[in-house]
Symmetry: C2
Subunit: 82 residues, 2 copies
């Protein structure tokens, strides 16, 4: 069994209205030192026994389904568990 942690972030050049809204709210409750907030996704995927290469299938899953590569970047960490 393998646990994979996937981090999906908006590309630098893409506006993040959700992040801006959160930044605004933080400012309103007194956290004016906050300069920027960017919001992404964090996925934990558990993969069972497989003959395929973990890195390859995670990359495929990200490109095909989990992320929108036009506006998002991703990176992942593979952790062996059992």
């Amino acid at each position: 069994m393998t646990k994979v942690k996937i981090y999906v972030t908006l590309r630098e050049s893409v506006l993040d209205p959700q992040g801006s809204a959160v930044k605004g709210s933080l400012g309103k409750i007194g956290y004016n030192e906050v300069e920027d907030v960017r919001i992404g996704k964090y996925l934990e995927v558990t993969i069972g026994e497989t003959d395929r290469d973990i890195d390859t299938i995670v990359k495929e899953m990200c490109e095909k389904l989990l992320t929108n590569t036009v506006i998002e970047d991703y990176r992942f960490e593979v952790e062996e568990a059992n």
Copy 2:
């Protein structure tokens, strides 16, 4: 300037319908080895000059606004930038 990475996950005991849907979709496109998917949030917060302790204010921001501690857990990493 300090960059903080915050990971928000659903508590173990809380059902994750979005994760289940993604697991189902991955199964349909041929990734049957995927046993579980849990989806959380990933936030990058940039904090400017402040007299306050970074760990303390990040914790406060998480508890007050960024997470719902009834159903979510969070952890964060503080990264000094320049």
